[in-house]
Each structure stands twice: as structure tokens, then as C-alpha cells.
């Protein structure tokens, strides 16, 4: 590894512009291409590549990406612009962060089902909890399993 020059930014890779197609993006773990000469000592330790899809998505058929546009869940680390990875196949258990349908709109909240009481809890003091009455039936669209937050 070359020493970092103080004060200079070393650009490793440029983030893509938003574009279509969620192709697997394999990152090489160990690779060594030597046409002639000695083989790399790392070759014996090749372990394939790390695929983020594999890490983040258990059930592709049930997994959807949604974009956050509100700030009611910042306390849970979910910020406007983040991408939520939502697995519809998971049961909406107490304490999970869910996508719920309220008045025909999708909303992200923490689900609370305790003592026969169902509530959707924001994680931002500026928003009130949403009480679900017995006659309203709560529709849970899916369960949030990851939030992708970008820093650059």
C-alpha cells in the first residue's frame, strides 16, 4: 500500500449515477493475474467474491427496494433518501420496522403489538404514534430488513 499523502484525497472509485439494473456487483477478494513468473502466494487462499446481494437479500422474489422520503424514523437510523430493503415474506412481529399502508399511502414505522394494542411508532419526537383501532385493519406491506445510507 502506498502511503497516503496528507491532505490529498485518493479517489478509489466513483459512485455511479443512479441508473437501472441491480446486477450483482462482485468485489474481488483476492485476485492475482501473473502470466509469467512466480504464482502469487495468495492464490492458495482464493475465496471467491463477496456479493452484497447475497448478504442483504435472502428471498429475492419477496424483496423490494423503497426510497425514504420522510424524517419520522431518523431515530432508527433511517434518513430521507435512504434505500430500504423490504422483505414481504417476513411476519410483521412486534418491534419490527415495517412498511404499513395508511390511507392508501406507504409509511415506514416501528410496529408495536402489545396487550392487544397495535401501534405504529415513529422514531422522531416530532411525530405522534399512530394508534390502530380495532375496526381499522392494519395492512403491513412488508418488513424492513436493511436501510442503505450513503455518505458520499
Amino acid at each position: 500500500m502506498p502511503e497516503d499523502v496528507p491532505g490529498e484525497v485518493i479517489e478509489i472509485g466513483r459512485a455511479r449515477e443512479p441508473g437501472p439494473a441491480a446486477e450483482p456487483c462482485p468485489l474481488a477478494f483476492f485476485t492475482c493475474r501473473i502470466e509469467a513468473g512466480f504464482p502469487s502466494p495468495a492464490d492458495d487462499y482464493l475465496e471467491g467474491t463477496l456479493d452484497l446481494n447475497e448478504h442483504l437479500i435472502r428471498r429475492p422474489a419477496a424483496t423490494f427496494f423503497l426510497r425514504v422520503s420522510g424524517d419520522s424514523m431518523t431515530g432508527a437510523g433511517i434518513y430521507p433518501g435512504d434505500i430500504l430493503i423490504v422483505d414481504r415474506s417476513l411476519p410483521p412481529a412486534d418491534g419490527r420496522i415495517v412498511i404499513a399502508v395508511i390511507d392508501g399511502e406507504l409509511t415506514v414505522k416501528r410496529l408495536s403489538r402489545r396487550h392487544g394494542r397495535i401501534r405504529l411508532l415513529p422514531e422522531n419526537p416530532r411525530y405522534p404514534p399512530i394508534e390502530i383501532n380495532a375496526e381499522q385493519d392494519l395492512r403491513v406491506w412488508g418488513v424492513v430488513v436493511h436501510a442503505i445510507h450513503s455518505f458520499a
Binding site: 441508473g19 422520503s69 414481504r88 399511502e105 409509511t107
Partner: protein, 436 residues
């Protein structure tokens, strides 16, 4: 039944087989609803390419009496008055949702035939409780994808189709219906069904059957197979046997033979200039060639078709097609664009208002099995590497990132799709937004 030729595929095991048809209810409209739950309970229609006709309706739209295939300009006012939600077709979304449904179904059995974008046949032979399985399938598809399905099970594909129809029509069934295992117990149900509601019996066939005294599905089931065969052919004879619970149509689990690749679309508006049509045709060629390479195929022939609108009664109408055979099977886009240009020159007539063009690739073969022509004109390996690179760029960066200059840059012929929903599942910039 040695006399009845059976198509290739998995034999469903003769008597005692069990076939299940899973069909997404109002598929296109239901896809729109998954991402816009506010459409629940409201009438939704989806339009054909170019926003021409109504090709899908939610139940509420059906209940309003909006007919299938209705040209949208005829019912514009009605749609507005009834506050019908109107969408252009979004095939990127429907295709993705369809693949998800199939993936869920494959968790139940690997023996499955994807019959169309919204229908699959499952082989449930040997499953003990088909009704319970049907409910499990329905619940799983709904939970995983948000799409409502109907599930019909019977001893044959034809009976499964009828069971599915029954599951849809009778709300009391909860979307799942299994034909009684004893074929005799189906009779009341079949008696209530007109013959043209049976799979494969169109209106014409039904008329001919009617003249023979065959009015209902039960009449058809009870008809003498040999007689039916002599009058209406082996296909209808098979239907008779299938109604009796004798499987004649196997599930086609294997990929069917490559039948040729067609890319044909209407233009966004009428087009007269040769240059614009040539651009559209070059784009369709690019798309067709991409599909070809994705399946590792090469084409021997290419046909270009061109026509004016059959509805332009006040203008001169025209339709024509021209094709050619390559010296050797090819998957090279520039070679195909050049060939398409030659074809187009032969059929283009100046001064007409064209509405639609198409490109058809046929004589398809696997690239490995390709015959090398005596006068092979391109270095297949080099062309192959370039085409793979183009496909990869377009896949990674989005359709049309790299395209052939012949396909044009302004593209006035692009399809009209004014009311298309976002491509929620295939474009990053189109992801569904979730608010507070």
C-alpha cells in the same frame, strides 16, 4: 391412447395426475395496485402500447361495464366521469412481478409450466391435499408479491382451467377450487358451462359444435371422441378426453423450440419520413438482436414489416414485408441493421403515414451449433466480443446506454406512454417513495 400424439414434456402420470393452474387476478391492474395501495377498491384500467386500447381491467372497472379491447378514445369521457385510474402499460414492472410469482411457485414444485405472463400450470401429482396446497400457494404468492391469485386444480390442464375459472367466479370459494376427483361428479358444473368457455374452444369452434348439438361443456365431455375427431380434428378430440379426466396435454416443462424473435411496435405518431422509420427499425433490430444473444442464438433470416394504420380510413392504407437470408447465421447487430435497411428500402413507399414497423428474426440456432458459411462475412469471434460488451453496458447502465447510430438520437417515433407508472422494481430513480 397411442393414437393421440402428445407434445413433448413431463407426462403427468396418466390417470390420477393432478394439475393446478395458478392465475394472477387482473394481473396488470393488480401490479399497479401493489405499489399504489390507494388504488384498492377503485377502478383501474391499463392501456395497450401507444395507449390505444384497454387491455386490462380491475374488477371494479369490469363491474362498470368497460369492455376488454375498447379503444380508449371512445370511452375517454366515461373514464373521467367514473374516476377510473388509467395507466399506460408498464412491461418492465409486469415482467419483473411475473418472474417473482414464478419464483414463489417454484418453491412448491419444480414441475411447472409458465404458460403466460400471469398463468402457470403446476404438477401436483402425488400431493395429498390439493385444496390445502392451493390455499398455501395463494397465500404465499400474495404475501411475497402482493398479488392476488386464483388457483384451480383438476386431473387435466383443461379441467384445471375450468377449476380456476370457477375459483374466480364464485367469491365464496376464496380463490381456490379443486375439481371433484371422480369425473362423474363434475357433471353439474360442466352442464352450467357453455362449450366456448372450455380451454381451446373458440367462438367459431363453438358454433360448429352447436350445429352438432354440443352446447355445454358437459355435452362436449359426453360426445364420442372418434366422431368429434372426424368432424373437428384431433385437437378437439383431445379436449373431449381431457374433460373426462384423461390427460392429453402434458406440462411443457422444457423450453419450447425457439420460434423466432419478433419486435414490433407502433410509433408514437404517424411517420412518413424514411429516415425516421429506418431509425425505429434499427432500434427494433438492436432489441431483437439483444434478445437473440441473451439466449445464445444466431438468426438465419430477418424480416422487416411496415404498415399504415388499419383505422386510417381517410388515408391510403398499405402494409408490406420483406426478408432476406444471411450468408451465415448471425447475432451481429450492425450486420442485421444493414440487412434491415435493405429490406426496408424494398417496402418503403414515400408519402404514406406509417403507424407500425416490426422486425422478425427466424431460423434460429444455438451459437455453438452454428453452420459456418462458405463466404462467412464477419469474424464471429470479434463481433461476438463487441456485442457482448454492448449488451453488458446496456444491462449495467440501463437500456440504450450504448446504441447504434442508425437507431437515431431524437427518435420522434417513440411509443406514446403518457400514463405509465414508474418502473418501481427495475430503475433506481423510480423506486417507490415511502413517507412519514
Amino acid at each position: 391412447m397411442p393414437s393421440i400424439p402428445s407434445p413433448r414434456g413431463r407426462n403427468t402420470g396418466g390417470l390420477g395426475g393432478l394439475v393446478c393452474l395458478v392465475d394472477v387476478n387482473n394481473f396488470y391492474a393488480s401490479c399497479e395496485r401493489v405499489f399504489d395501495p390507494g388504488l384498492e377498491g377503485r377502478p383501474v384500467v391499463v392501456l395497450s402500447n401507444n395507449d390505444g386500447c384497454i387491455i386490462a381491467r380491475s374488477q371494479e372497472a369490469k363491474d362498470l361495464g368497460i369492455p376488454m379491447g375498447e379503444p380508449v378514445h371512445k370511452v375517454k369521457d366515461f373514464l373521467r366521469r367514473e374516476r377510473v385510474h388509467v395507466y399506460s402499460s408498464n412491461y418492465a414492472l409486469y415482467g419483473d412481478m411475473s418472474a417473482r410469482v414464478v419464483a414463489v411457485l417454484k418453491r412448491f414444485t419444480p414441475y411447472l409450466e409458465v404458460y403466460s405472463i400471469d398463468e402457470s400450470f403446476l404438477d401436483l401429482t402425488g400431493f395429498a391435499d390439493p385444496a390445502a396446497h392451493g390455499r398455501a400457494v395463494k397465500d404465499a404468492v400474495h404475501r411475497w408479491t402482493g398479488l392476488p391469485v386464483s388457483v384451480g386444480t383438476g386431473a387435466t390442464k383443461t379441467l384445471a382451467k375450468i377449476a380456476n375459472r370457477t375459483a374466480k367466479k364464485d367469491p365464496g370459494l376464496g380463490g381456490v377450487f379443486v375439481m371433484p376427483p371422480d369425473p362423474g361428479d363434475n357433471d353439474a358444473l360442466l352442464a352450467a358451462l357453455p362449450a366456448d368457455a372450455v380451454w381451446g374452444i373458440g367462438r367459431r369452434l363453438a358454433q360448429r359444435l352447436g350445429k352438432l348439438g354440443v352446447i355445454t361443456a358437459l355435452d362436449l365431455k359426453r360426445a364420442e371422441p372418434k366422431f368429434i375427431r372426424s368432424r373437428l380434428g384431433v385437437v378437439v378430440e383431445r379436449t373431449v378426453l381431457e374433460l373426462r379426466g384423461i390427460p392429453c396435454l402434458d406440462l411443457e416443462l422444457t423450453q419450447p423450440d425457439h420460434k423466432g424473435i419478433m419486435v414490433a411496435r407502433g410509433f408514437g405518431r404517424r411517420i412518413t419520413e424514411y429516415r425516421h422509420i429506418a431509425e425505429a427499425v434499427a432500434t427494433y433490430v438492436s432489441r431483437a438482436a439483444e434478445k437473440l444473444r441473451r439466449q445464445d442464438l444466431a438468426a438465419n433470416t430477418l424480416t422487416v414489416s411496415l404498415r399504415t394504420s388499419p383505422f386510417d380510413t381517410h388515408r391510403q392504407r398499405y402494409a408490406n414485408a420483406a426478408g432476406l437470408t444471411f450468408p451465415e447465421a448471425t447475432f451481429d447487430t450492425p450486420a442485421m441493421i444493414a440487412a434491415a435497411g435493405q429490406c426496408l428500402k424494398r417496402i418503403y413507399r414515400p408519402g404514406l403515414a406509417y403507424q407500425k414497423a416490426g422486425v422478425f428474426l427466424d431460423g434460429l440456432e444455438k451459437v455453438g451449433a452454428m453452420q459456418l458459411g462458405l463466404f462467412a462475412s464477419i469474424d464471429q469471434n470479434r463481433a461476438g466480443a463487441l456485442m457482448r460488451a454492448v449488451d453488458r453496458l446496456n444491462r449495467d447502465w440501463g437500456r440504450d446506454t450504448v446504441r447504434f447510430a442508425a437507431a437515431g438520437t431524437r427518435r420522434p417515433w417513440m411509443m406514446k406512454q403518457k400514463m405509465r407508472s414508474p418502473c418501481y422494481t427495475t430503475r433506481w430513480q423510480d423506486l417507490k417513495r415511502v413517507g412519514n
